[in-house]
């Protein structure tokens, strides 16, 4: 089979030839293409191929319609359902997307909330241990400016935690070597001393700042040096009374929030339920219209 000439033409030449065939070129374009046709056999062959193709298409027979298409009032009424289908389909898709989006926000929010809780808990735990060993000089450096306390405590926590670990290792080594514990066993610690650190533990980082700012509490803060010295909390208590109340208040608030969230349905859950119901209704209507329209 010979290769077709129309394939060899550029798009521009193909369009020119096709339009020339139908007499749709202006005078100048017609003169140009005719001049080229005289000297380019490839163009002449391609023109002939296009002419034959158009002739074949025009030779296609006409067909008689299978029926008449006169309209009735019933046809005009039922016509609306055809356009209801794409509209319902679009609405269903949008509502389904909104539903997925809300679910995503809910899940992401819950995951983020639990992460924040874990981070807060860790920070607080880290802050508690060194706070009992820190001295005022170190603390003064740590709290150079108000508002930076959390960051400074966090930075100070690492070396202090290391020193605490070292102290523990020394104790452990002494114990291994038959030397007596510097720290009494738990059973020997008086009940008061056992309880107090636990009670004041959450307020420790704030206590440091208050003491430094106050200045007169230097001696009291120095008493913090012993890791198991429960007197810190007692001595520092007047200085941080407000803070403790604030913390307690905050804790109460959290408890109230927890009670609310467990006792009632959250708004986002209501939204999810609503969207799910709407989605089901729309999908059902879409399917109904689709089935009934054909």
């Amino acid at each position: 089979m010979n290769e077709m000439q129309v394939r060899k033409l550029s798009q521009r030449d193909l369009e020119r030839l096709s339009a020339y065939l139908d007499g749709e070129l202006n005078t100048k374009q017609t003169a140009q293409i005719e001049a080229r046709l005289d000297r380019e056999p490839l163009l002449r062959d391609a023109l002939e191929e296009l002419r034959q193709t158009a002739r074949l298409l025009r030779s296609m027979p006409q067909v008689t319609p299978p029926r008449h298409f006169t309209l009735t009032p019933e046809m005009l009424k039922s016509h609306k359902s055809r356009y209801a289908y794409p509209a319902l389909k679009l609405a269903s898709a949008l509502v389904a997307a909104a539903f997925v989006f809300v679910i995503g926000i809910d899940i992401f929010g819950a995951a983020k909330g639990s992460d924040e809780f874990a981070v807060n808990f860790t920070q607080r735990s880290i802050a508690e241990a060194p706070a009992m060993e820190v001295d005022v000089d170190e603390a003064e450096d740590m709290v150079a400016a108000e508002g930076e306390i959390e960051e400074v405590v966090g930075e100070a926590a690492e070396p202090l935690a290391e020193s605490a670990a070292e102290a523990y290792e020394e104790d452990f080594a002494m114990e291994e070597g038959g030397v007596e514990h510097t720290q009494p066993p738990e059973s020997e610690i008086p009940a008061e001393e056992m309880e107090e650190p636990q009670e004041i533990a959450p307020e420790e980082p704030t206590t440091i700042g208050k003491n430094v700012e106050g200045g007169d509490n230097e001696d009291e803060t120095r008493a913090d040096e012993g890791p198991w010295d429960g007197s810190v909390g007692v001595d520092a208590a007047p200085t941080m009374a407000t803070t403790i109340e604030d913390e307690v208040g905050a804790d109460d608030g959290e408890k109230q929030d927890n009670k609310w969230s467990f006792g009632q349905v959250e708004p986002i859950s209501l939204l999810e339920i609503g969207l799910a119901i709407l989605c089901i209704i729309l999908i059902s209507a879409t399917l109904l219209v689709r089935v009934s329209s054909r």
């Binding site: 193909l14 030839l17 191929e49 296009l50 193709t53 158009a54 319609p65 298409f69 055809r82």
Partner: protein, 203 residues
Amino acid sequence: MDEAELIQYAQQGDLDAFNRLIQNYEHQVFNLAWRIMGDSDSAADATQEAFISAYRAIGRFRGGSFRSWMLRIVTNSCYDEMRWRKRRPAGSLEALFDDLGMPEPENPGDLIHKPEAPEAAMERAELSRAIQDCLNRLPDDFRVVAVLVDVQGYEYQEVAQAIGKPLGTVKSRLARARARLRECLQRYRELLPSTFRLEDESS
């Protein structure tokens, strides 16, 4: 009652006047839809939809050529029908033929042609199916223009109005459609007229 009067009555909501008006276009509209859609059922649906749309829109008809106005509505209706058919799950016989790339068998009884020998009629029907198959293989936009210009014989300007595109777009689509059709028709060389084959062989 002439066309202008029928249009006027139809614009006032007279359904009978509208039905009399479209009787003159029924054949033309269905044939156009048949060649664009490629099967009788789709063409009938597109034709019916076109007339319903025309009835709803005739209040906005502001004179000029009713044929051109109708042509635009039919073309849009065919595009709507093509979109609708693409969404429809396959299962019908027509869809099966489409999937296999086979043309729908034409009922020779539906064809309007001069009395001829049975063998010639059969060849003619086969050639028509071959051309329709090649038309069906074209992209929708190319097929619509090829049918409007080459099969139905409309002018470029009228086609540009019907599809709502510039004249240059019509020229471009038509040229590319013709080139593709030429290529496709080589599959049916044995069905093509002798002049078509001979000239091709000599080139």
